[in-house]
């Protein structure tokens, strides 16, 4: 079996050409990137048959402070007939269990940057060839640029040391798919605005309003002018019953984005909840006037305010 595997790997390297990101990184690693990192404290769950998805996700979740065992994740991410786990469900299951999950930018430098920042990264590898795929999830917990090695929790191996260029080949075939699971309120070091906002909204939809509110607050500190972050912080505050904080968030959104109907609509709803019907009505009328695809929703809001007012 061993000779077969190394034979396949050799063939892979021959077929795929050189590992370009690896050689670039080894030649000119950014000064900010430490030469060697290993997150030894990351827990390890050896996988059961086929179940690298739940095992890998459980390691990442536990590291983010969510106490969960792989078996508890099997139902959430494992599709029995497929004998595997979908990437989108790995992300979703993390959210549902209270961790903020997000994919990282698809390159080796981002991967190593996250590990150096203390965030182990769940990666999808294709250990086979593109036409004989052997998909596998593993957790990157360290690397050594001088040795050109990467360290993974993989399968039944606590500390799999793999050549960085071999890893790049296996990772490339999944489109460089990698995700981190973080405590709400933290963002990946490599986070970019648009993907982060999308991941935060998914986190709000799939998790608790309380945790999402914490996550929005942190993200607003990094991107203070983002409309959806303002709306999200308002919506999560409202879901928690904090109508005043919600109204303030929507107010801020209407100031920054005076054409945004959802901001006015939701502000009117909150003013209504606070019993400030006069103001609520004016804001709702503004929402109706701006209309667009939201006209009907705004109209319902206005009607509900009028109904209470009379």
């Amino acid at each position: 079996m061993i000779w077969l595997k190394s034979g396949v790997l050799t063939l892979l390297i021959l077929l795929s050409g050189c590992a370009t990101q690896t050689s670039a990184l080894l030649h000119e690693a950014p000064d900010t990137l430490p030469r060697r990192v290993e997150l030894s404290g990351v827990p390890f769950f050896p996988q059961e048959r086929y179940q690298c998805g739940p095992a890998t996700l459980a390691m990442a979740l536990q590291n983010s402070g969510v106490a969960i065992e792989p078996n508890a994740l099997v139902e959430e991410v494992y599709v029995p007939k497929l004998e595997g786990s979908l990437q989108v469900e790995m992300l979703a299951a993390g959210r549902r269990n209270g961790a903020f999950t997000i994919t990282i930018p698809t390159n080796l430098e981002s991967l190593l940057t996250e590990v150096a920042s203390g965030n182990p990264v769940v990666v999808l590898q294709n250990l086979g060839l593109s036409w004989i795929p052997r998909w596998h999830y593993a957790l990157v917990v360290g690397y050594d640029l001088d040795q050109s090695e990467i360290i993974l929790r993989s399968g039944t191996t606590l500390r799999l040391v793999m050549s960085l260029s071999t890893f790049e080949h296996t990772w490339e075939r999944s489109g460089y798919w990698g995700m981190v699971a973080l405590p709400p309120g933290q963002l990946p070091k490599t986070a970019q605005e648009a993907p982060s906002v999308a991941a935060l909204i998914a986190f709000e939809n799939g998790g608790s309003a309380k945790l999402a509110r914490i996550a929005y607050r942190a993200a607003l500190q990094r991107w203070p002018d983002n409309l959806q972050l303002m709306i999200g912080s308002g919506n999560t505050a409202a879901a928690e019953g904090d109508y005043l904080a919600a109204a303030n968030a929507f107010q801020r959104a209407t100031k920054h984005y005076p054409e945004n109907v959802p901001a006015y609509n939701n502000l009117a709803m909150m003013l209504g909840k606070l019993g400030r019907y006069g103001e609520a009505r004016i804001v709702a009328e503004k929402a109706v006037a701006l209309g667009g695809p939201w006209h009907d929703a705004a109209m319902e809001t206005l009607r509900s305010i009028e109904a209470v007012q009379h």
């Binding site: 599709v79 998909w135 959806q228």
Partner: protein, 130 residues
């Protein structure tokens, strides 16, 4: 060959699917965060209603996914993901309602992952067998 058959089957499913019209109830609601940045409302209610259908749920269970799991999985999709799926359903040719849930279901599951661009083939994993 197997994959070719599978993708042909999916193409068949997609073309065989019907457009199911569902109306949203009229009441004053907060507009969701994801929708606030979009130019039009997303089809979350539409998709959720689709997954409420007992025939769809029965088929999900055939795949080894329980009813509650299935709903939770869809609930956890982002608005962009939902909108993408809903657009696809909305653009299908209308027809009778005699299509069985299996088609709808497989369509939805595969489409979600496909549209997201996570992979072009079936984006599930087959870990190493030792």
């Amino acid at each position: 060959m197997k994959r070719f058959l599978k993708s042909s089957f999916i193409m068949f499913l997609i073309s065989a699917l019907t457009c199911i019209g569902l109306t949203q109830s009229a009441q004053a609601v907060m507009i969701g965060t994801g929708e606030a940045g979009a130019t039009a409302p997303s089809g979350r209610a539409h998709i959720s209603a689709l997954l409420e259908r007992p025939d769809v749920q029965a088929q999900l269970e055939n795949l080894g996914i329980s009813k509650t799991d299935a709903q939770a999985r869809v609930a956890a999709l982002s608005d962009a993901e939902v909108a993408a799926v809903d657009n696809k359903i909305g653009s299908l040719p209308a027809g009778g309602d005699g299509i069985i849930g299996a088609l709808v279901l497989i369509f939805v599951i595969l489409l979600i992952t496909d549209i997201l661009g996570f992979t072009k083939v079936f984006p599930f994993t087959h870990p190493i067998q030792r």
